[in-house]
Symmetry: C2
Subunit: 377 residues, 2 copies
């Protein structure tokens, strides 16, 4: 039985789902792959719990499920001290402990750091463990979207880093793009709708509904962040675009991406409360969007909020697209990516499906972990 020892960073929604998936896939992984995923430690921003006897065995399944319950209940990881079989380290001591384990195990048995947090704070540790022979699997976009230096450092050993769930959740976007790249098929153009929220918003305003109403219902459906401006500003899409562009070899930073925000600066979080924005701000945006929708329709087109990567161009914003294209036909909150290459020149390679959700995101992370098994002894 091959063993993949791992440390999970971040145990919010995605991390909890990952632990549950790992536990429920035990027999599948053992039968089909001869594989055992051994969780040595789990950390959040405040603490790290580590298996007591981590050189010999990881945290038990019952411990991991208890951990999920504790976190789901909004309690601190340190509460798990009572449960036994673990040691708890508190920030900033927790970082040192992770590095200590990495240096002990990285080169000897291999060790994967799995980043399911949404924080830049993990970057410091991830950059160091790369040199200690560890693998890195990420759902967290932040470490890959800071400086080019950080990006290059994390990709020092390209086979040892996986990050499918940073773009389109579990959709096979990165895996497919990497296959295209390694087959030498030149990518001419990528265009994609990579935000479920903005996909939903744009297809609803296409039907003539006012933007203000659509955003409010998206919020009440749970499709948006608590402050919908976090979606409407386009920064999340820009981070995904940056990751795709960097994979294609573009040495660019977030600030070189042209980002169109759906709200003006004077309605920003520093100027207006969420309530004000939802109540009064949004109403002021209705007319402009409606006019743009109508103008597009008069050309037989629709509006979509997309990222475009083509040549040295990398931008994020509203585009007028043919109604009769994979992106134009998009309805609801699915993500769609069209990739144009030498092999897919007239008609693109299209990947479409749910691009958000903890379950799907965690599934993508788990597939990445299973996929690096050949790097372990």
């Amino acid at each position: 039985m091959k063993k993949i020892p791992l440390i999970l960073m971040g145990c919010g929604g995605v991390g909890r789902h990952l632990l549950q998936h790992i536990v429920s896939c035990r027999s599948l992984h053992s039968t089909q792959q001869g594989l055992f995923l051994s969780v040595l430690g789990v950390g959040d921003s405040k603490s790290l719990v580590v298996a007591e006897d981590l050189m010999n065995k990881g945290l038990s399944d019952s411990f991991l499920l208890e951990l999920c319950r504790v976190k789901h209940g909004g309690e601190s990881l340190s509460k798990l001290h009572d449960f036994g079989e673990c040691r708890v380290f508190v920030h900033p001591e927790s970082q040192g402990k992770m590095l200590e384990i990495a240096s002990q195990l990285g080169k000897k048995t291999g060790l994967a750091f799995v980043d399911c947090s949404a924080s830049s704070d993990t970057t410091v540790v991830l950059k160091q463990v790369v040199d200690m022979g560890c693998c890195v699997v990420m759902a967290n976009k932040k470490p890959l979207t800071s400086t080019m230096e950080d990006f290059k450092k994390l990709f020092t050993y390209p086979r040892r880093i996986r990050h499918e769930s940073t773009v389109g959740a579990g959709l096979p976007v990165i895996a497919s793009l990497n296959r295209i790249i390694s087959s030498g098929d030149p990518v001419h153009r990528i265009i994609g709708s990579l935000s479920g929220t903005l996909g939903y918003v744009m297809s609803e305003v296409e039907d003539g509904k006012p933007l203000s109403q659509v955003v409010r219902s998206a919020k009440s459906l749970g499709y948006t962040e608590p402050d919908p401006r976090d979606d409407l500003g386009g920064m999340d899409v820009a981070r995904k675009a940056l990751i795709l562009a960097r994979i294609l070899g573009h040495q660019i930073n977030l600030d070189s991406i042209q980002i169109e925000s759906l709200y003006p600066e004077e309605m920003g979080p520093d100027v207006m409360t969420v309530e004000d924005f939802l109540g009064r701000g949004l109403l002021l945006l209705d007319k402009d969007i409606q006019e743009r929708v109508e103008k597009a329709a008069s050309n037989g087109n629709v509006l979509r909020y997309v990222c475009i990567i083509e040549g040295s161009r990398c931008e994020v914003g509203i585009q007028e697209l043919p109604k009769n294209s994979p992106l134009g036909r998009l309805r609801g909150s699915d993500n769609v990516l069209e990739i144009y290459t030498r092999c897919y020149s007239d008609q693109p390679l299209v990947i479409q499906g749910a691009g958000a959700g903890n379950d799907t995101t965690a599934a993508g992370v788990l597939a990445d972990i299973v996929d690096i098994q050949d790097l372990f002894p």
Copy 2:
């Protein structure tokens, strides 16, 4: 620099494109992956050429390109004897030579057998080299669609076999399905249009054109096999469906798949010549298809020739599908696959794009080869 030594079986269209891709990707593979693909031998049904000093170096790039020219010109591989740096073995001696190389190199340095033929004859060798520590990469569907015993034998070491290009050419169908399986996301249903020819035919008859006319123009466009009945019979789609079903764990054979042929037995190749079928046979089929198209249209549906795998059901044939679904919207010769799972339950994961062509198929094979690099020392 990591080296992947390989032997190519089959150097028709796909194999030739693969060799050209390998040569033109030299600097890409070396820079991005630190990888060198070393072609030790190339065989077809009649002969095998092997690098003279294969323990130390593979066939040179100029030799490989000369080989492509020779094969493209319809000449025998044995002609390459004059070119030097190789030894030529003639069938059946060639098989023994392949096994000899496999036993010498398989466990020591790793060796990949790359099957780009379209023949069942490779199965014998492939089954044996699996036990000698070799990897297998296939575009050839035949060895995976004979008996369950052969299939299981080839999958003895599941990490050492790749076969993306057996379904949908280079489209990331198998890679995506394997990711879904290893993340424990249960597949409820797969429905796909996996024949470019039949995709084209069904979308053209949808527009009211007679089947006979559509098939004739498909043939003149080069979309069909020399005898279009090879496409219209559905056997090629059934082989792809069988591969997908077996990956999902169905222990079934080709004869347990219900296959709908678009022509009746009395128009089969044993009864009617190709010319007769195209001239007179097809005309007799026009009315029935036209009526089915009209009946579907009256329900707001369209007809598609698809494979369906759901529960224990695995069938291939014409289905009435909603006009407004990824499959219903399909036009032309693209392939489309819809995968329904727990994560993709309401809306499927959709993969769409060109699913045929030597260039695309070879690109899929090359991506597979690069992807097994971690198995090599």
